[in-house]
Chain length 308, copies 4
């Protein structure tokens, strides 16, 4: 008897029940530290529009670094291939906020999915506009992609990020010193902190990322979001760089392009088939959702969705 | 009108004619330096057994680092998951022969596709056997996989590698100091230098690597070479780590798991479909075949074979 | 016939005439770039009060990093041995503005004579006071030590430093993220940029540094500036760390504790005997005054003043 | 009442009695691990020939890295200034056996007092001679300098060093790959391991190093060992680089050029006055004799011998 997608998702969800609460919740800002460690949500959305959800997939969480994929998409649409003069596409082999590589490589971040790289893509999104215009563009992009006007920033998170973001100020000033930022450090970071502070549910996130599974066209609206070749490249960067210094591990275990955030979410793309969003706040030693990664590994195996 | 595989391969081959001789031939040992820069060969072998070739696909070249994929396969079959205690699976973010990372990470190489990592997998292949037994096992593995008894080492290349291999001696002694080699440095390196010195044609190489495109089973013989999950993991490691510090670039451009060698060859896997071997001796700035990479990018695009 | 100090200084000065204009003048801020490359001044002041001068020793130049020695003295007087919990005393083996070491060592700079370390000592000088109080204290310290009320900041230099000091903002934010700064980044840097912007002549500089040659007591006023043991330690740090990644070179060639600045000045201490200040704007490849270093080497040899 | 040198030495020795046994004895080879941790010897020899000893100053210990100073002296006498093309004179800012810096700086060690640098100076000593001639030259140098024909190698230590010296094999092969060794790796290391294996007493060591306190002339025999300027430079290198990544610390605390070894010995030079040898096997966290460093700090303070 063949199981349906809904049955597979439910089965994985049930298997995860015993692991709820595993890992360590990020605590560098209060808004993240207060989240209930036992939350677990999972949502799969196929290119045909089939949805399967489990658990807390309806509950908003802080998107954090997952937003870097969307900022990259926006920056590529604005700058095209020129973006790659300002940011690389190689795995960094280092922590998400490392500055060592920047010094050795003249202020050009290794890839757009580490903090330094996302500050560059944010600068590209901001270019020639006011902070408010940049912030609004990001919010509207999420609302359009997820087809949901309720998506918004968590102002408290954005403020906390700014107040504790010394490392990001350090990275931004460092790159500014190499002329790799065009706007003022403070302006770029205000927009950067906002893009980290989007509140989103698993369901909304899977919807927003679905175009990545369909060669750049949102299959439900029919809108082209970005070119086919750029889509492939975003997916390639997600696979090689999406999980900081555990990117190889994620490729090894799950076998799909993905991007994690310290809020405990992971967006995963099954090229040609579906987008998956999972959320569980406890992080493993590499800063990726512990239960979320486990769920993705099992789901990918069950569905035969590994790209390898 | 739909083009056949043979037509696509021929078309890509013709497009490459104008680029023949591009890049810089490796010259650190005489046997490599003497190769004609204008050679170009391409062979695609599908899981159904369909073959399409172009140019010098019949001509043997030095396998060099591509052999690391096969040594990894052999080591996984001998040690299983325990291998991963001795070698990681993360991109290194460094040159193929870097020793910096080893010092910072206590003698455990980042992945099995950089030199240090392949010395560890070679040690695993050698364990408990004589040098000759280790060497014979490697030769027999290639002969069996490629179904061709003529495959052999180039003794001159193996000797040259040993004579100029100071960096590899350095890496091996470094790891031995951390107890990450079980056999004597000299013994491990003798076997290591031999696995680099296999002479192989594009046609043989595509045949030898076909099991990687078919979940670990050689589709033409029906023999299981390695488990399905291990196969996926080898492919994942190839994608994230197969081209040294240009691994992200290859994933970005070609979108397929692959492994290059300084002899100018590249083995590429199209999961579920085919193995591709390409050879052109001129290397780009990262040490990967310049014309070979270009051919793979075009072929992958034509066939729609990117995994992303 | 024994030459007098004045004769030795004159002889070295004359030898330097042919080299005037050698090296490359710092040009990262306009105020430095406009300085005449051919300037050369030299002043020796002995503990007995004997002065010997040559050339442009009467002309003010920008003190730049030489001020770090005085900020260190002030910080030691404020914090005592506790200062060494926040900054090390080892050579860095890196460029003056490197951030790599900071990341590897949890935000504790290697020594107080690189930029990061001097930002920490500036923070110690500022602690509990307003920016203006901190700035005034530094100006007064120089005026008192040099016994010259005319010493002042160059406001244009201070402003230029602030406008182009992205790397210093990066370093300061980085350390703030490790809680190794107590005041706000902006406040500490305003004071830091001012201490770099002191305008001083060779004669004033030798006078201000004389206490370092006399175990912490200004031999001309009789005032104790700092303890004997702290003085020795400041001199030791100058010897091992005073010239960035060419500190060993300076110890090797000159054999005396010294501190250079990108304005082209060098303060050198002859323990028990004298302070030497030299100035020539052209810098060598390590960022130290080219002609100034040469003059010091010859003077130290002539006088037999090497401590080795 | 003025104390004599003998009284100062005795006083320091008595103060050290309570600390005997402190620190951790090196245990990477059996011959070192078996040494009694409670040993403590001290010998001061002035340029006038006055000797003052305390404790186990008559007992031979393994010279280990202290020999690097003598190998440097021999290499400078053979190659002159050309030596500095092959090895630098800057502090490394790294562990004694680090290979990271070598990779970043093309196989040129930072200074001759870290392992890599001493392998280069050993290669210079060996050049054009057999292993036995090189070894004999080193032994004879020590015998001549110390005026004692009984000084010899400990063959067991030399053998153990060779058997466990993987890191040194790694360093040597690494540099050979950059053409910075002229002899075969195995030959250079045989000589290197022997120079580490000299057995020497505090009394012999102070005698052997006395020329460094007297501008290159052995004051007791009147023989010139090396030029005056080279002597100053050896002392400068000892001060900036003599204690690995705690060189700044030693300069800060003791204020004299010195070189330590993992056998627990330290040779210290008081320019113009005396040589001091101290021995106590327990090492501090940086690999330098814990009680020996303390004794030197106190003796230097008592005698007013700091060069700062």
């Amino acid at each position: 008897m063949v199981e349906t997608l809904a049955e597979h998702v439910a089965a994985v969800g049930h298997e995860m029940e015993q692991y709820r609460g595993g890992g360590k919740v990020a605590d560098y800002i209060p808004a993240l530290a207060q989240v209930d460690a036992k939350r677990f949500g999972l949502c799969v959305l196929t290119c045909e529009g089939e949805t399967a959800q489990y658990g807390d997939s309806w509950m908003p969480f802080s998107i954090q670094s997952i937003s870097k994929v969307f900022t990259l998409t926006m920056a590529l649409n604005r700058l095209g291939e020129d973006l790659w003069k300002r940011v690389g596409r190689e795995p960094s082999g280092s922590r998400f906020n490392s500055i060592v590589q920047l010094e050795n490589e003249a202020g050009v971040p290794r890839n757009p999915l580490i903090n330094a790289g996302a500050i560059v893509t944010t600068d590209a999104v901001l270019a020639g506009r006011t902070i408010q215009e940049g912030i609004d563009d990001i919010r509207n992009t999420f609302r359009t992609l997820a087809d949901d006007k309720t998506i918004d920033f968590d102002p408290q998170v954005a403020r906390s990020e700014a107040e504790t973001g010394f490392r990001n100020y350090s990275l931004a000033n460092f790159m500014r010193g190499f002329d790799n930022l065009n706007s003022e450090v403070e302006d770029v970071l205000q927009v950067y902190f906002h893009q980290c502070a989007i509140r989103i549910t698993c369901k909304q996130l899977a919807r927003a990322g679905l175009f990545l599974a369909n060669q750049g066209v949102d299959p439900l609206s029919g809108n082209r979001i970005i070119s086919e070749s750029a889509t492939r490249r975003i997916n390639a960067v997600m696979l090689t760089c999406g999980h900081y210094d555990a990117s190889g591990e994620f490729a090894f275990q799950v076998g799909l392009p993905g991007k994690s955030g310290v809020g405990g979410g992971i967006l995963t793309v099954v090229p040609g088939r579906a987008a998956i969003a999972v959320w569980s706040p406890g992080l493993n030693e590499y800063g990726n959702s512990q239960v979320g990664t486990m769920a993705l590994e099992r789901l990918a195996t069950r569905m035969g969705w590994s790209i390898f």
